[in-house]
């Protein structure tokens, strides 16, 4: 018997309503606890792919499963609890008046008791190093803090899979290091979209390279990143 993959993507295709052909039969698999890097030039379709993991976009073709559950409208609730999607811009993810409310938003939607909600909020904020900032407004956080707060909001859902869209963009070197260490400390299955080859090297034993809506290469970063033709094709150098 083989272990159920945390994420399994089969021949996924997607065209935006305006006709943009964004994903062209993408297939990827992610084992529980595994870390997969997703690199590729702007417009390759990386963010579009992430939005399919919890049914925010509906595939035109192919199928996605999360922990063996097909991503279909009737499973959206379950799937969204299991996949924690961290957006590229933390300001989109922190929409409540205070940090506490933001992190509590997900657990409250799950209908948890308030004691459990509070416990999860405390634990999530502590996990990202923002303990004690419960009553801060997102507006008064530094960018690095907002990034970590956005991660805390999905940790509180206790997901099986974390999908992070460019987690180190717009951060200073120290902020990058902190986020890298933070992501490394998790035990979830993780998909990390990034342009940062250093980040991919440190965190991801396996990397998929996307270009023009397709996965054009897959393998360990050491090998892939020394293939200069590939890097050129993927616009990564």
């Amino acid at each position: 018997m083989t272990l159920t993959p945390a994420v399994s993507i089969r021949d996924l295709s997607y065209t935006y309503p305006d006709g943009t052909f964004a994903l062209d039969s993408v297939s990827l698999e992610l084992k529980p606890g595994e870390v997969l890097g997703l690199v590729g030039p702007n417009g390759a379709g990386k963010s579009t792919l992430l939005l399919h993991l919890n049914g925010m976009l509906r595939a035109n073709g192919g199928a996605v499963q999360v922990m063996g559950i097909p991503v279909k409208p009737k499973n959206y609730r379950e799937v969204r609890r299991r996949v924690g999607l961290v957006f590229q811009n933390p300001d989109d993810q922190l929409f409540c008046p205070t940090l506490f409310e933001d992190v509590a938003f997900g657990p409250r939607n799950l209908g948890l008791q308030e004691a459990e909600v509070t416990a999860r909020v405390r634990a999530s904020l502590a996990a990202v190093g923002l303990q004690g900032l419960d009553n801060k407004s997102a507006h008064h956080l530094s960018f690095g803090q907002k990034r970590r707060a956005a991660i805390a909001t999905v940790l509180a859902m206790q997901p099986d899979v974390l999908a992070l869209d460019e987690p180190t963009s717009n951060l200073d070197p120290r902020g990058k290091r902190l986020i890298t260490e933070l992501i490394a400390s998790f035990h979830h299955a993780r998909i990390i979209v990034t342009h940062d080859l250093d980040l991919a090297r440190t965190l991801c034993p396996r990397v998929a390279v996307m270009a023009q809506g397709r996965v054009i290469a897959e393998g360990n970063p050491q090998e892939l990143f020394s293939d200069h033709d590939l890097l050129d094709q993927a616009g990564l150098r």
């Binding site: 939005l51 919890n54 925010m56 609730r77 969204r80 609890r81 996949v83 924690g84 999607l85 957006f87 811009n89 300001d91 989109d92 993810q93 922190l94 929409f95 409540c96 008046p97 205070t98 409310e101 509590a104 938003f105 997900g106 409250r108 939607n109 799950l110 308030e114 009553n135 407004s137 997102a138 507006h139 909001t153 999905v154 859902m157």
Partner: protein, 244 residues
């Protein structure tokens, strides 16, 4: 360091007391001078009990001054003896000229109201105010709207000033009528961006299990809430309707 409040009140109680002061004050005939003195004394006491910094509050209430000046300018033009500006100035016998009374009426009511609201604002952070309103059965959708506006208002303001800088950097000076088109496009692109952000925020909400109903935080109350409400009601009613 400022010490904590002497009296802990939940946001709901503070909102109710503030509202009570405003309603009672506005409905008081202008010539019942001791009552107004009483309201002010009440507010001072209230502010002291919940430990609001008075200097700051007084400074903020000065915001109503321009409004008062405007009224002052118009007072001489009001027709003689009209019960203008008051709900119950009515037929009461005026101890001093009615024009002055009109001015006094709007001045004291505006100022007392502002004073009460500023105390509320200074003692209660915006998120708690929203929470208090929620507790008072204020429509949830409106509250969510207020909360989101509060959260993104500043973000949008920053975006807007960035866009303006970008225009200025290209030596754009909106001076002539034919440049109105550019301003129109600016506003258009601004709304488009706000709309797109709205969509992304909505996705973020969906991703965390949002089903169309905003989750409620539980409400806490303090031991002082009920006594404070009852006492305030008695004092205010006494000032308003008690022997003049």
């Amino acid at each position: 360091m400022s010490p904590g409040p002497i009296l802990f009140l939940s946001p709901r109680t503070k909102i109710l007391i503030t509202l009570a002061v405003v309603v009672v004050c506005v409905s008081t005939p202008a010539n019942r001078f001791p009552a107004f003195l009483g309201y002010l004394a009440f507010l001072f006491g209230f502010a002291a009990l919940i430990r609001v910094e008075l200097r700051r509050v007084l400074r903020h209430t000065l915001a109503v001054l321009p409004f008062l000046l405007m009224i002052a300018v118009f007072v001489p033009f009001l027709p003689e003896g009209q019960p203008a500006g008051s709900l119950s100035l009515g037929s009461s016998v005026h101890p001093f000229p009615s024009k002055l009374l009109v001015l006094w009426n709007s001045a004291i009511k505006a100022w007392t109201g502002a004073f009460a609201l500023v105390i509320l604002g200074a003692s209660t952070p915006f998120p708690e105010l929203l929470h208090g309103l929620e507790h008072l059965r204020f429509p949830r959708l409106l509250l969510a709207l207020l909360a989101v506006t509060h959260r993104y208002g500043l973000v949008f303001a920053e975006e807007f000033s960035r866009t303006r800088r970008a225009l200025a950097a290209r030596a754009f000076r909106p001076r002539w009528l034919w440049q109105a088109g550019a301003i129109g496009r600016l506003i258009g692109s601004f709304f488009l961006r706000a709309y797109e952000r709205g969509e992304r925020v909505y996705l973020a909400m969906l991703g965390r299990g949002f089903t169309g109903v905003f989750p409620v935080a539980p409400h806490t109350s303090h031991a002082g809430d009920l006594p404070a409400l009852i006492l305030s009601a008695i004092i205010l009613a006494g000032l308003r309707w008690g022997a003049a």
